[in-house]
């Protein structure tokens, strides 16, 4: 199992010598606190007189609550207990739809659903007391699979259990399939749920009184929590204050979910007369109860000419949304808009739906639906190449989008792009062709270890889908400090992706001052403007551009009003001008507001137009071995080539790609969420297997830089991109190692390989 750690420098293509901060690798703003153990995560904060809260959760998937008994053996009179009837305002999570209660009133819709809350100053006693709350139920029939949901036999949501549907139409594929001399290929694919598995579990603390509510927590989106809590307490914006604590990973798992524990802690505090309440999930509760990646079943049907030209494409994908809508409609939207891949095709239909089941709601997870539809299409392309007798890379080259082509949505490719160059670079760096040949030869020997190599070609749209950024209407700001330095004001949280640092570099560059003169205000709804959620690969690209524009305005202001020279200045001159301005005018803040780039139009009704302002493009190659004695797969080498606009901080950007690839390798090969009655059973790190150092191959990252005119210094989003490509590349390489036997569902576990070889 032992492998040397090979050199894995991050390589990039552009010359950034004209920049002073952008393209450099300054130390992360918060890294000193993190490496010394001084960084304060939510569970590191202490609150005077704190109570510890726990959540009583349902142990049936569907039914009615008959009775809740607080059994003897616990000093219940010392406890704060909250049920739905204690809620001062509306018992509903304000998200896309108001369909999910904070606490069950009568009907339970999934396992692990919150029913009641208990709190006590003694942490150990709360744990014990949790076992003494007995809930009696009247059970009702539940549904756990997509097929059961769509069978029509047990309708629990609307008329057909369907949360949302989308349809994309370009041309008309149906008649193409009956044309003569074509090759029709059909396939069904499955991607399983995945746990985000941030190493810091969800956690919050709250103080709530009729005068106002304050929440501290591990989270991606403080303003989501604020929005979620307003109806619960019938309080206005300025009475709900949400403060971000250093957050130990999110990956989407702390996008919408933290609103629930935040509300729970606040309800307990409200009932306890304003005493602080902390709720920190342990790992088992976090894995049992919180959101996961939507499982997805996809059917793909293609018609190819004999020479490999893609003539028609039909994709039909169904996601399991779980028991409440939460974000399923937007996850499905992104899945829909990534289902057709980077290929030019005249006749395309994409039909997708998200359905109700009695599972805990599935939620945001890095990639947000796109990995679920990219996997089937890319693996399908490999199966097609196999059937057509064309090399997989050649089949792709025959069909890739070029400038001037239109996507299935009708979006015309206006920007310079070089998907072919990306593909060829990945092939060169991975020695793809050479290895296809040598692996084939090796696999003819008697060795029980078979070798495989596979590639995937894909894109990821950055920022909110369609008109989403317009609706978000984000604002970001800069503040001049009395010391003459500059403070960044955004709601965007540092969750490991390096946003405090990349934002600081962008502002430093725009103001032409050193990176060290920029600081970042910790996101706190009482202090920062709402610059939108920290999701969708938008923080650097969208919010970064707002900051760049705010910086331009700030510089102009200092030139106009405080004598900053228009013809260049040093750090000290800037500091003097800024502090003079602050002294004269008091606190000065400059804000920039989102403006959609010109030429971006999207029609939500027909699903046509520019779904995303910018796309990152990538080709990934996976080289692996399958051991036919143990059926284990070992990834030996991984090459990730991508075009992401401009790289602001190569080490941070490389770290995003490397980490995303590892997370996606986990999804492809190890991370098997075992469901029973709709809920995860293997809720421990002993039985839910994450990639360790021993499982993660050398990941070699290459950036192509092609500056995007509407991103800060040309940057596009990249955080989710690496989640998209690894799974199909792995599945393709496994198929190669097995002599063309394709496994169409992930994770690919040893037992699946054993099964297909039988």
């Amino acid at each position: 199992m032992s492998r040397a750690v090979s050199d894995t420098p991050i390589r990039r293509s552009s010359d950034t010598s004209q920049f002073k901060s952008v393209g450099k690798n300054p130390p992360r703003k918060e890294s000193r606190e993190k490496v010394t153990g001084k960084a304060k995560y939510i569970d590191d904060l202490t609150f005077e007189g704190c109570l510890y809260g726990k959540t009583v959760r349902s142990t049936i998937p569907r039914g009615k609550i008959k009775k809740i008994t607080f059994e003897p053996g616990v000093p219940w009179e010392e406890f704060t207990v909250v049920t739905a009837k204690d809620i001062p305002g509306k018992n509903v999570v304000a998200l896309i739809e108001m369909d999910q209660p904070f606490l069950v009133e009568t009907e339970i819709r999934h396992m692990a659903e919150p029913i009641a809350l208990i709190a006590h100053p003694d942490k150990g006693l709360v744990e014990k007391a949790l076992t003494k709350v007995r809930v009696e139920y009247e059970e009702l029939p539940a549904i756990f699979t997509i097929d059961e949901s769509l069978s029509g036999r047990n309708i629990q949501r609307g008329r057909d259990n369907v949360f949302k549907k989308y349809h994309i139409q370009k041309g008309d594929p149906a008649p193409v399939f009956s044309r003569p001399a074509i090759v029709v290929i059909e396939g069904e694919y499955w991607t399983g749920p995945q746990e985000q598995l941030y190493i810091e579990p969800n956690g919050v603390a709250a103080v709530a009184t009729p005068d106002g509510v304050t929440v501290w927590g591990s989270m991606q989106c403080p303003f989501y929590v604020q929005k979620g809590l307003k109806p619960l307490f019938n309080l206005p914006d300025d009475k709900i204050r949400v403060i971000y604590c250093v957050t130990g990973g999110g990956f989407g798992g702390k996008e919408e979910y933290p609103t629930l524990p935040a509300a729970h802690a606040a309800l307990l505090s409200w009932k306890a007369g304003g005493r602080p309440v902390k709720i920190i999930y342990d790992r088992m509760e976090d894995m049992w109860a919180t959101t996961k990646r939507h499982p997805c079943r996809t059917r793909v049907k293609t018609a190819f000419a004999k020479d490999g030209k893609l003539l028609a494409l039909q994709v039909d994908a169904t996601m399991d949304g779980g028991a409440y809508l939460t974000l399923s409609s937007v996850v499905l939207s992104r899945g829909t808009l990534h289902a057709f891949g980077p290929y030019a095709c005249d006749h395309v239909t994409i039909d997708t739906r998200a359905v109700f089941t009695n599972s805990p709601p599935y939620g945001a997870f890095r990639g947000f639906g796109a990995p679920q539809t990219i996997f089937p299409l890319e693996l399908h392309m490999d199966r097609a190449a196999d059937r057509l007798g064309i090399e997989p890379h050649e089949l792709r080259l025959k069909n890739i989008l070029h400038k001037g082509d239109t996507m299935a949505t009708g979006q015309k490719m206006e920007d310079e792009m070089d998907i072919e160059g990306i593909l060829k670079k990945a092939m060169t760096e991975s020695r793809y062709l050479e290895k296809r040949k040598s692996h084939r030869e090796h696999n003819r020997t008697a060795s029980p270890v078979k070798k495989g190599i596979g590639l995937s070609l894909f894109f990821h749209g950055a920022g909110f889908t369609g008109s989403g950024e317009v609706f978000l209407d984000s604002r970001a700001g800069l503040e001049i400090t009395p010391a003459g330095t500059v403070r960044i004001l955004t709601a965007n949280t540092e969750i490991g992706q390096g946003s405090f640092t990349t934002h600081s570099q962008i502002v430093a560059e725009a103001l032409r001052i050193p990176y060290e003169m920029i600081e970042v205000a910790p996101p706190d709804t009482a202090v920062v403007p709402n610059s939108g959620p920290t999701v969708a690969s938008r923080t650097c690209m969208i919010v970064g551009e707002l900051l760049r524009r705010a910086a331009d305005d700030l510089r102009d202001l200092l030139i106009r009003s405080s004598g900053l020279s228009n013809n260049g200045y040093g750090p000290d001159e800037f500091r003097r001008a800024a502090s003079a301005h602050a002294e004269k005018n008091g606190v000065t803040r400059v804000y920039a507001k989102y403006k959609p780039p010109a030429g971006i139009h999207w029609d939500d009704q027909t699903y046509t137009g520019s779904a995303y302002g910018a796309y990152a493009w990538a080709c990934y190659v996976c080289d692996l071995e399958t051991d036919l004695t143990t059926y284990q797969v070992e990834v030996k080498d991984f090459v990730a080539v991508q075009e992401v606009g401009r790289v602001i901080h190569p080490v941070i950007a490389g770290g995003q790609i490397e980490g995303g690839v590892a997370q996606a390798l986990g999804w492809a090969l190890y991370e098997n969420v075992v469901l029973k009655q709709g809920v995860m059973q293997n809720t421990q790190l002993t039985n839910y297997i994450l990639p360790t150092t021993a499982d993660t191959p050398p990941i070699r990252v290459f950036f192509y830089e092609n500056p995007y005119p509407n991103g800060p210094y040309g940057a596009k989003g990249l955080g989710e991109l690496p989640m998209d490509g690894p799974a199909p590349a792995v599945a393709s390489a496994v198929a190669f190692s097995l002599g063309g036997k394709f496994i169409s569902s992930i994770p690919i576990l040893p037992e699946n390989i054993c099964e297909i070889l039988k």
């Binding site: 032992s2 492998r3 040397a4 750690v5 894995t8 690798n25 130390p27 992360r28 918060e30 890294s31 000193r32 606190e33 993190k34 490496v35 010394t36 153990g37 001084k38 960084a39 304060k40 995560y41 569970d43 590191d44 985000q196 598995l197 941030y198 190493i199 810091e200 579990p201 250093v246 957050t247 130990g248 990973g249 999110g250 990956f251 342990d282 790992r283 490991g496 992706q497 390096g498 080490v651 941070i652 490389g654 770290g655 790609i657 490397e658 980490g659 995303g660 690839v661 590892a662 997370q663 421990q684 790190l685 002993t686 994450l690 360790t692 150092t693 021993a694 993660t696 050398p698 990941i699």
Partner: protein, 158 residues
């Protein structure tokens, strides 16, 4: 039921009244006020709570406090001396080895143990296989450890 338990914590004597079976992790965080040691799983799988007990790497969530009696406990806070970072900490900053940072204190402790005794594991991968990181894909962590080991070989290892 508590008992008086004493050990050397980051070079200084420490005494507290704690339940002898209280997890060393909780004693460090709650009684000694050192919150740099983190809890990720509570069952010895993730390594976020890694500390040294008499120089040996242990998962402090799996160690009852009474086992530390009379021993030397070193935590992430103990790596800094006179305000100077340990070379491993410094290299994690320079090479981007820390992202969200929650695994970082444990990862650095495991890395320091390996750097101090490279013969303790077959290679860096094996040495760090007990410490999970969800952010980095481990690549920048290897770069950090490699750089630190180069530095440590020319400076005084502590």
């Amino acid at each position: 039921m508590t008992a008086k338990i004493s050990f050397t914590l980051n070079g200084k004597p420490w005494t507290g009244n704690v339940h002898p079976l209280k997890r060393l992790l909780d004693t460090l965080r709650e009684d000694a006020g050192l919150t740099g040691t983190k809890e990720g799983c509570g069952e010895g799988e993730c390594g976020a709570c890694t500390v040294f007990l008499d120089g040996q790497v242990v998962m402090s969530c799996m160690v009852p406090t009474c086992q530390a009696e009379g021993k030397k406990v070193t935590t992430i806070e103990g790596l800094v001396s006179d305000g100077d970072l340990h070379p491993m900490q410094d290299c994690f900053i320079q090479e981007g080895g820390a992202q969200c940072g929650i695994c970082t204190p444990g990862m650095i402790m495991a890395a320091v143990a390996y750097a101090n005794d490279p013969d303790s594991a077959e290679d860096m991968r094996e040495a760090l296989a007990g410490n999970l990181c969800r952010c980095t894909g481990y690549t920048r962590i290897y770069e950090s450890v490699k750089k630190a080991m180069e530095k440590m070989s020319v400076s005084e290892i502590r």
